[in-house]
Symmetry: C2
Subunit: 297 residues, 2 copies
Amino acid sequence: MLFVDRLQAHRRAVEQRLTNLLGQTSSDPPGAARLCEAMRYAALGSGKRFRPFLVIEAAALFGVPQSAALDTAAAVECVHCYSLVHDDLPAMDDDDLRRGRPTVHKAFDEATAILAGDALLTFAFEILGRPTTHADPAVRAELVLGLARASGWQGMAGGQMLDLEAEGVPQDTDGITHIQALKTGALIEFSVDAGALLGRASVAERQSLRAYARAIGLSFQIADDLLDAEGTSAEVGKATGKDAGAGKATFVSLLGGARARDKLRSLAADAVHALKPFGARAAALEQAAQFVSNRRS
Amino acid sequence: MLFVDRLQAHRRAVEQRLTNLLGQTSSDPPGAARLCEAMRYAALGSGKRFRPFLVIEAAALFGVPQSAALDTAAAVECVHCYSLVHDDLPAMDDDDLRRGRPTVHKAFDEATAILAGDALLTFAFEILGRPTTHADPAVRAELVLGLARASGWQGMAGGQMLDLEAEGVPQDTDGITHIQALKTGALIEFSVDAGALLGRASVAERQSLRAYARAIGLSFQIADDLLDAEGTSAEVGKATGKDAGAGKATFVSLLGGARARDKLRSLAADAVHALKPFGARAAALEQAAQFVSNRRS
């Protein structure tokens, strides 16, 4: 199967599972319709579903079928979507457009966006706590712990705080690498580790996968910076040129486009190298590393 | 031990545990100092710590020592504190004062308040996922599931959404009872159930405790409405008279003060009745029911 077809197939499966998990309007509890509608708007719009892809493919390395990884993949995507909703708020990055549509606070209102984000974050942990997500409660508890660490003050939320504080403050590549590692890297790393947990990987296997995830996490951010600097809003589906407009240091503003692209190539090589212990089984994850380096949206 | 001394002793223990869990500034990760400071500001200010009290006393019914219930109690309190931070935001209830101090978005700023709330919510699940919270991962997974259900779209977040939507819309007591059951009742109910889970209570015991928790949850809200209608800001530690000012239906506006107080008395009797199966062991929970009905702040 071609990589893009594989990505597409997982994406459809994840969106189907998210649709089932988030329910239909007809079964919403009395009065909660608006909140559920906003949660679905946030989670079921378009999106690459790249983190769910990583969960599914990392689990597949250890023989876990897609169907058994989908709930965990959906939980990770709920956290990703909640973070977009809150990051887009007027008090944060103040974005009106996301994935080519009005952001949640534009389509609904600010209070609903705050609550829909809160509820999606909470729902991720509800999913991971359910026996249907994995039969072994020890695995469920480990998934909860890992997701919480990746998302909280030591991870994504901490990174967003640093990113806000960094505006207008001179940064070097170490500084923005640190911010990225928290803001986007931690959840990407957890996505891969979640697959490994579902597959009961060994400590050594988890370490190899963690090195892979760190490389693609950083690639993801550099590619994002390139898109912001060089892409158009129509291609990317959200406002572009924002970082330069805000005088914000990025990999592109510090390294320039050519060296940023060199860095992407070397990170893709690092990622592929980290997959060596898994041999040909890791072909899809290898292709994912290339995909991240070359992405255009 | 007198009830107020018991409440005070648990409160001190919970605050000590929260202080340990939320760390000290000196050990914060580089750059995360501001977020951690805001989380501590939100969680370590004053507060009755009533939900942690319920966790500890419900667990004690089944012989669980205070020390073994404190992490779970702290997790519940993190969720309660996050909800206060987000509810106080300008886009939500727009409150400047909480527990006698500036609210988090006033003491810091809106973006920090949103992130500190997010991070406290996430941290609650991190605590519950840790092996130190309970040795049995099945108990940890059940705690996660219960807390998520009580806090999300079917619980607290859903209730806050309904409460915002209800402003200016005529409500009857059934309507506001439903909103209350979600907005404040669900987390109070979970607090008691969490103690029962820690103590491996039977299904019947959990049902009795749930009936108790439902009665005190509703009492809590009615007492709150009485304080809002009749208390002064200095007594209550936050703005009062807000509900009447916003034309919002409350138990007091619908029933009047005298019938609201009758309702409190009958709910206290219901709560005490539900504790019958536990005999004298449940003395502290009985006193808690009286305390809720009579509270003055």
